[in-house]
């Protein structure tokens, strides 16, 4: 056997005093880390297979397990780190591209954490959300430029293009059936309905069981066109054209055949067991005028009754691209930053392509205002929204609403082990294996999602009240409510905010 150069990243610490050899860990681990040795009556570990998903730790009835980073160290080197060397060993062994999942984990600047929120003192009262109405309802969609009147003088209400009404400015972002499980989709769908917001099918079509959640679904049309048909388009509250994804701007997707089960095959309308490959570009969109044609094709197909969202990854020229999209007939632009998650992406792309969503959002919002077309579109931002403070900051920078996906999966039990691409998700989320899928109970999953978003909503209301703002619409683009800390002049200029103390 050839020598394996790479060392296991994690070590399984099993407290022999606590372990009762009940073999729960063995049954729970789809990666087959744990095994029972009948000779000694004890459990053993194969740490080369461990992804640190913590399933075994969470389920061990005697708390006998800990997963820790392997303290074994290569000779220290600030440049050639252990991770870097390990990746070279793997590539030298396999000759393949490195694959990863979820968002960019590298220590790039987090601008959310360098912005602080204002509060009222003396000159202006803060408002207590327990005593006064505090509004988080918002509408997404193009607004008419001019008021028109009926012959009787009343306002003509019919010139308003289709809108999405959200009770809270948070939507669940696109995750396809195939990349995540049936039970994960059901959890998202039920939570969106209960919360008065929307979930997004991703590019894998809409399972026939979930058409009953159609009033709260955004159906996606991506470059592979998987699962796209008339009924699907008509079902959605809105249609999203996916041009790019923050985790992997500029490239397509690849769902391995192993995940194309009967159900996934039927929903995606592709043969069972075949790889589902989404091309990098849409092959009918090589330019902005082509995008316009697709936008209007979809509008024609659905009789102009549904807003069309165009989703792009945050890349260097994002402001100009967004400006083009705002003039292409799109009703809503979704921008996905480089922290955005994925079920699988080439590691180098995930970690090195795209820009932070905070800067992209600030640039796009300002550009659309300079061009006086901000009212032509609503802006949804995505890609690493972690908590309610991020939401408040995003809206104050200029977003109408945010998409969350990683946070939603974490609510469902995801431990961010970042190995979705293996399809062996022990938490029943990013897998199609029936024995794993059933671990995620949609009753509990949807409840946890509702809890998460409701908790954030309360926190948003509390922060808004502190600022003396009682409607989320008065927070949108209200950049005076933000101050930067530790940012350069250039960063402040791009974010359009002042430094703390100014």
């Amino acid at each position: 056997m050839a020598i394996r150069y790479d060392i296991p990243e994690y070590e399984v610490l099993r407290d022999p005093q606590r372990c009762i050899a009940c073999r729960v860990c063995e049954r729970q681990c789809a990666n087959e880390v744990h095994s029972y040795d009948p000779d000694t009556g004890t459990m053993k570990s194969d740490e080369t297979k461990c992804v640190d998903c913590h399933r075994c730790v969470s389920l061990c009835p005697t708390h006998a397990l800990k997963i820790v980073r392997n303290p074994d160290t290569l000779r220290r080197n600030a440049y050639w780190t252990g991770d870097t060397i390990g990746e070279i060993y793997r590539q030298a062994e396999t000759g393949g591209m490195l694959l990863s999942s979820m968002g960019n984990p590298r220590p790039y600047p987090v601008y959310w954490d360098k912005m602080l929120i204002n509060a009222s003192q003396v000159t202006n009262p803060s408002i207590d959300p327990l005593r006064e109405p505090m509004e988080t309802r918002t509408f997404l969609g193009k607004k008419p430029d001019r008021i028109e009147r009926n012959p009787d003088g009343s306002i003509d209400l019919s010139n308003l293009p289709p809108q999405l009404e959200l009770q809270v400015p948070i939507l669940f972002s696109a995750m396809s059936y195939g990349s995540i499980s049936y039970n994960a989709h059901e959890s998202l769908a039920r939570a969106a309905k209960e919360l008065g917001t929307y979930w997004n099918t991703g590019e894998g079509g809409l399972h026939e069981d979930f058409y009953k959640y159609a009033p709260n679904v955004i159906v996606q049309v991506a470059s592979g066109r998987f699962g796209v048909h008339k009924k699907y388009l008509e079902a959605g509250a809105a249609i999203e054209i996916k041009i790019g994804q923050g985790a992997k701007p500029g490239i397509g997707g690849h769902l391995p055949g192993a995940k194309i089960t009967d159900d996934v095959s039927r929903t995606r309308m592709i043969p069972k067991g075949t790889d589902a490959i989404s091309p990098a570009p849409h092959h009918d969109i090589y330019s902005i005028e082509d995008l316009r044609q697709l936008v209007y094709s979809l509008k024609e197909a659905t009789e102009y009754k549904k807003p069309v969202i165009v989703k792009i990854a945050a890349v260097h020229n994002v402001a100009a691209i967004a400006s083009g999209i705002a003039r292409s007939g799109a009703d809503i632009i979704a921008i996905d930053g480089f922290r955005g998650g994925t079920g699988a992406a080439p590691t180098r792309i995930r970690d090195n392509v795209g820009i932070p969503i905070e800067l992209a959002l600030a640039a796009v919002d300002e550009r659309l205002r300079q061009e006086r077309i901000r009212n032509n579109v609503s802006l949804i931002v995505a890609g690493g929204i972690r908590n309610s403070a991020d939401v408040v900051k995003a809206i104050a920078l200029g977003a109408d609403a945010v998409y969350i996906a990683t946070a939603a999966l974490v609510a469902l039990g995801c431990h961010l082990c970042r190995t979705c691409q293996t399809g062996k998700c022990n938490w029943g989320i990013a897998t199609q294996r029936p024995d794993l899928v059933k671990r995620l109970n949609p009753d509990i999953g949807s409840k946890r999602l509702v809890n998460l978003v409701s908790a954030w909503q309360h926190e948003i209301m509390e922060m808004m009240g502190g600022m003396g703002i009682n409607s989320v619409e008065a927070l949108r683009g209200n950049r005076l409510m933000l101050r930067g800390v530790g940012l350069t002049e250039k960063e402040l200029e791009i974010l359009g905010i002042k430094h703390a103390g100014e």
Binding site: E135, I147, R372, R374, N470, E473
Partner: protein, 364 residues
């Protein structure tokens, strides 16, 4: 220390307004007396008045009131003014020297109309042409500031207590059917004349008490439509919002109030079908013009006056009536001082506009 216009300064205030529905013209003494008992609501860093019906001899001409910090600013401004307008009269605004009022700029007024040719070449209607002219002067000529630009109305303002400002401008010599007044309590300012209220564009004038928390959301939206918020004050933003909604979008004043002090969604959801749809439409389409935070405003316009509180009524404001006169003020004492026996006195609910207009057939 930065001057106003470079930095945003919050301020508290006192407001007062008197309106004659029959169009009877009365001098500025009434409104000056009404604001005196609210002396402690200002701190001497700004006072001002708007008066309607005061220039009957020039009723069809735009009256521009301008502050100049330098001769050069005056020359530059007059050059632009004279190239676009047929100016019928130009004069210094009469003032009274007083120890309480210091650092006065040169204060001029001009009466005129845009040249027809100029109007036609731009394709704007007359009011749009004038509004653009005012925004242009105020944002591009340092040291020149047009603070009043309506027909048959005028704004008078300065750094000082409002009662002193009124005497300084000799308001006893003017007669109008509508007067509004303002005393300012800025929290932190070296005091700049342009920063005092009222803030005015065309015949709209706004006096305002409050600090709006939605300021930057409102400002960044309204600036898409050619306005430039050079003062960074709430009042300026409110005046532009009213101009945009009422003049440019053609919303009625009541509809304008429905946008800027919109009912809560919980109230809208309880309304019946058509009204619910109408309110939802207005809130949705103009969502960025919703004003949050405390405010009480008095909007003056040709032939009328509107009083409006924020939707939570976070600032005091009362309305009184006696005969054909309508009084609005931050405090009841301001009204009782000038009219002790009122027919009616009430405190309007938050977000409920009180709109008074001249009786039918009255010409001013």
């Amino acid at each position: 220390m930065q001057n106003e216009g470079k930095i945003r300064i919050p301020s508290g205030c006192a407001i007062s307004g008197v309106f004659s529905k029959s169009g009877e013209r009365f001098d500025g003494e009434t409104v000056i007396r009404s604001i005196v008992p609210m002396h402690d609501r200002s701190n001497g860093l700004g006072g001002g008045f708007a008066a309607y019906g005061i220039y009957p001899q020039h009723r069809d001409l735009y009256a521009f009131h301008v502050f100049y910090d330098s001769v050069r600013a005056k020359d530059e401004c007059e050059e632009i003014l004279r190239s676009g307008f047929d100016i019928e009269a130009a004069e210094k605004i009469p003032t009274r020297k007083m120890p309480q009022i210091t650092d006065e700029p040169a204060i001029w007024r001009y009466f005129g109309l845009p040249f027809d040719k100029q109007l036609q070449s731009t394709g704007f209607d007359e009011r749009e042409f004038v509004a653009r002219f005012v925004v242009k002067i105020n944002s591009s000529i340092p040291g020149a500031y047009v603070f009043s630009s309506g027909k048959n109305m005028g704004v008078f303002k300065a750094v000082g207590f409002p009662e002193d400002v009124g005497r300084y401008y000799r308001l006893e010599d003017y007669a109008g059917y509508c007067w509004t007044a303002h005393g300012r309590y800025p929290t932190n300012t070296p005091g700049w004349w342009g920063g005092a209220h009222p803030f005015s564009l065309l015949d709209y004038s706004v006096v305002h008490n409050g600090e709006i928390s939605s300021y930057d959301a409102n400002r960044r939206f309204i600036e898409m439509f050619g306005y430039r918020c050079t003062l960074l004050t709430d009042t300026e933003a409110i005046a532009y919002i009213v101009d945009y909604l009422n003049r440019r979008q053609g919303l009625s004043l009541r509809e304008t109030a429905d946008v800027i002090a919109a009912p809560f969604w919980s109230e809208i959801d309880r309304m019946d079908g058509e009204e619910r749809r109408r309110r939802t439409y207005l809130r949705n389409v103009f969502s960025s013009l919703l004003i949050t935070g405390p405010f009480s405003i008095l909007l003056g316009f040709t032939g009328g006056m509107m009083a409006l509180n924020d939707r939570l009524k976070l600032r005091s404001m009362v309305v009184g009536e006696k005969g054909d006169r309508v009084y609005v003020a931050s405090e009841e004492c301001a009204i009782r001082t000038v009219e002790p026996s009122l027919d009616r006195l009430w405190s309007p609910r938050g977000g409920q506009p009180v709109i008074v207009t001249l009786n039918k057939g009255v010409r001013v």
